[in-house]
């Protein structure tokens, strides 16, 4: 029953381990933001897996962008509401 191919979670873990020196060199404040990007990708593991890509990290980057776009949309909405409230 054992699987041959690595799961998307395992592949992301491997990429994260590979990027450890990059993360280490970042400033602590940047490290937190960097971790956030990876956390954003992890929210879409099922969707990344569905693509069946040989390079899933490419799709993970798209998942990060998606989360950023969502955040921008939420902030934009809040800004619009604030503008409306303040006339």
């Amino acid at each position: 029953m054992g699987k041959t191919a690595l799961t998307i979670t395992q592949q992301l873990n491997e990429t994260e381990a590979m990027l450890a020196p990059f993360r280490r060199t970042l400033r602590r404040s940047d490290q937190y933001v960097f971790d956030g990007l990876l956390a954003a990708a992890r929210r879409h593991i099922a969707a990344i897996g569905e693509v069946e890509s040989l390079l899933p990290f490419q799709i993970a980057l798209l998942a990060m962008l998606l989360e950023q776009a969502k955040e921008i949309a939420v902030l934009q909405q809040k800004l619009d509401e604030m503008k409306k409230r303040n006339g």
Partner: protein
């Protein structure tokens, strides 16, 4: 000629030829019957070799024939059929022939006799039947029931309970507790003579159908045999006096990612022996479940109670093969086909696991596909020999599973209509659970390396179909305005504003069922459910953890400390109490008040711990030894406790559970089974408080962060 009706208790090979049957007759008599019965195995291969095999075995009291039989994958084959009228001799005959001609392919050589019998007679174990007799010899058997009956007539079993006063693995027992009906008494283990005489007399007087023991496999029966030899007092617990106790050796093996220890076994003839401590799933579904599995699989109750459900599902597949004229190979023959890397990435995947939306959610429905994987195999005809073929006739696996899936669904439907306090509920639940486990493993066995009828591609076809169906379900839900909070293999958590009652979700379930063709059921509507975040990064969700309260206040929790076997009773109790406090809350504001109550509770119980008011039993940690003691480089707490036991001459094997408590200083643990009791002042209360804090944080952290978020809004 006489006619008897009753239940078929057991069937096994008779040393003198044919089979021995045990019938629990309607007049409350237990009948030992005999029947002529022959068994056949097949050899296939190069003709010249078969000819030599023929010459080799022809004078060994067997009937030889050249016949054509079907191999599931290779189709029709010319084979040498070796038939013996003495099935007890078949293993020896086969071992002899296969040693001489190892390159031949052998079929039907290791099929349990009960399966051969059931396939031929069309009856089933524990089934009702009418038997025509000539003396003790069976002339014919007419089945009066099927294994698929929903409400079988209960067997009037006589049960004798025997257990020692302590766990013999760690302490020397001094007496045996005996229980039968309302009678209960103890027998001293010394002196041995009166013990053996007393026990022998009890078994003869009660004549039990089942001896239900604690440590009967690993200690009691081997010990009694030793005492019997030493004292010269003959002691045979079998009802069939011609047989001795069948013993099997203990062993540890690796399965489902963990080391499992199975103790030695003592099987009886004419009556059953089940050791509750050595019965794999007895805690899960008890005697009723083991009997249900015996009914549908064809393996005896003693076997099913001790074996994994995988053995049961293999037996069912063998039975289907026998009934359909398909030969059962000795070994798996289907290796994985070659694949490109792209094909491998595409195929080699499991079920769909979504990442839940972190936090507390209100009015959430959990809907589950019923027996999703088996239902997919049946509906989409997924079987090792049909995978990748269009319009193939019904495969061996779907044929085996169809009645099982239907029976479980019917039992579940009956259960959902019954009042939870109805006296039938516990029995029905046990039977449904026993069937569930057979269904659970049938999927794994499609891809299991040793499964006779396994092929990884069929395993992959099931997960691929399940992922597609889950996505279809998500699309249906979203098209109907639902928010999908989480999806996990075969269940979805959905939410929509102002949808709170079960009936609100019925149209969604109907639509999903119509789209996917797989039955779906509402597990319940949570008034609130929590999907916690990772401890390491609060922005990362955990797919296999959640807890929540249904609208009637019932709790459901998965993946948290309460579900873990290595959590102490104390921590488990407090976490459950914390959840019960939270379960009273209906709104987010009420949850806010509950958080304070939970914190007060945690402080109170920690104070009790420091005062020494918590019973030591509740602080016992239970962990498995993941390897043999000498293989540890830096011993885990469980290994350190096992080392303490070894110092007192108690050996433990890999896969065995070790019970211990955390202590200050020294090795940091104290094995629970040590003769000298732990001084409560040595307890590492700080460590226990940390364990409790973690468990409390698991249930409070999501509520607290949600509350702060709400306050910020």
């Amino acid at each position: 000629m006489d006619e008897v009706t009753g239940w078929l208790l057991d069937v096994y090979a008779d040393q003198e030829g044919g089979v021995t049957l045990w019938l629990l007759a309607d007049n409350d008599r237990r009948l030992r019957l005999r029947m002529d019965f022959s068994a056949t195995f097949y050899a296939a291969g190069e003709f010249s070799l078969l000819r030599q095999a023929w010459l080799y075995i022809k004078d060994k009291g067997v009937k030889l024939e050249r016949v054509t039989r079907r191999d599931l994958f290779l189709g029709e084959r010319d084979v040498l059929a070796v038939t013996t009228t003495n099935p007890a001799q078949l293993p020896k005959l086969f071992a002899d022939l296969s040693r001489q001609f190892p390159s031949l392919d052998y079929y039907d050589a290791d099929i349990p006799l009960s399966l051969r019998f059931i396939a031929l007679i069309d009856t089933h174990l524990l089934g009702r039947c009418r038997v025509q007799l000539n003396g003790e010899w069976v002339q014919s058997i007419e089945p009066l029931s099927t294994p698929w009956e929903i409400d079988p007539l209960p067997l009037p079993l006589r049960i004798l309970h025997i257990s020692p006063d302590v766990d013999p693995a760690f302490r020397e027992p001094t007496k045996l507790h005996i229980k039968h009906g309302r009678g209960e008494y103890s027998l001293s283990l010394t002196p041995v003579r009166p013990l053996l005489i007393g026990l022998k007399a009890d078994i003869k007087r009660i004549d039990p159908d089942l001896i239900l023991t604690d440590y009967g496999d690993t200690w009691m029966f081997p010990q009694i045999e030793k005492w019997s030899q030493e004292s010269g007092i003959d002691f045979n617990p079998n009802r069939d006096e011609n047989k001795a106790v069948l013993t099997r050796r203990a062993g540890s093996y690796f399965a489902y990612g963990q080391v499992i220890h199975r103790g030695a076994q003592a099987h009886l003839f004419g009556r059953w022996h089940i050791d509750k401590q050595n019965a794999m799933s007895f805690g899960e579904y008890g005697l009723e479940g083991a009997m249900e599995q015996a009914r549908v699989t064809g393996l005896g109750v003693q076997e099913m109670a001790r074996k994994s459900p995988g053995a049961g599902i293999t037996a069912m597949q063998m039975l289907t093969a026998l009934r359909n004229g398909i030969m059962v190979p000795m070994q798996k023959t289907q290796a994985e086909g070659t694949k490109t890397l792209k094909e491998l990435i595409s195929a080699d995947r499991g079920g769909l696991i979504y990442q839940p939306l972190i936090g507390v959610h209100q009015a959430v429905a959990q809907i589950d596909f019923s027996s999703m994987y088996p239902a997919i195999m049946v509906k989409h005809n997924i079987s090792p020999e049909t995978v990748g073929k269009e319009n193939a006739p019904e495969g061996l696996i779907p044929k085996t599973l169809r009645p099982l899936v239907e029976k479980r669904l019917m039992l579940k439907n009956i259960l959902s209509d019954l009042n939870p306090r109805d006296c039938r509920v516990s029995t029905l639940k046990a039977r449904a659970s026993a069937l569930k486990w057979l269904l659970v493993v049938c999927f794994g066995y499609l891809g299991y390396k040793n499964a006779r009828f396994g092929k990884i591609e069929s395993h992959e076809a099931v997960t691929a179909t399940s992922r597609e169906l889950m996505l279809q379900a998500k699309e249906v839900a979203e098209a109907m305005g639902f928010k999908v909070l989480h999806m996990y293999i075969d269940c979805l958590f959905v939410q929509q504003d102002e949808f709170e009652r079960s009936s609100h979700f019925t149209p969604l379930m109907d639509a999903i069922e119509q789209k996917t063709g797989i039955p779906i059921a509402l597990e319940g509507v949570f008034k609130w459910v929590v999907f916690p975040s990772s401890r390491r990064d609060k922005r990362v969700p955990i797919p296999n953890q959640y807890f929540g309260a249904f609208q009637d206040g019932t709790l459901k929790y998965r993946g948290i400390e309460l579900r873990r076997r290595d959590t102490t009773t104390w921590v488990r109790k407090v976490q459950l109490a914390a959840l019960q406090i939270l379960a009273q809350a209906d709104t987010m504001d009420e949850l806010s008040g509950s958080v304070t109550d939970v914190l007060t509770l945690a402080e109170h119980v920690k104070c009790n711990l420091r005062k020494g008011d918590v019973p030591l039993e509740e602080l016992v940690v239970r962990q498995k030894l993941s390897r043999e003691l000498d293989a540890y480089k830096s011993p885990s707490p469980a290994a350190r406790a096992a080392l303490q036991l070894r110092a007192f001459g108690k050996e433990v094997a890999a896969g065995q559970s070790i019970r211990f408590m955390y202590t200050r200083g020294g090795p940091g643990v104290h094995a629970w089974e040590l003769e000298d009791k732990l001084d409560a002042r040595r307890l590492d209360t700080k460590r226990y408080c940390t364990l409790l804090d973690r468990a409390i944080q698991t249930v409070l952290a999501p509520c607290q962060s949600q509350l702060s978020a709400n306050r910020l809004m």
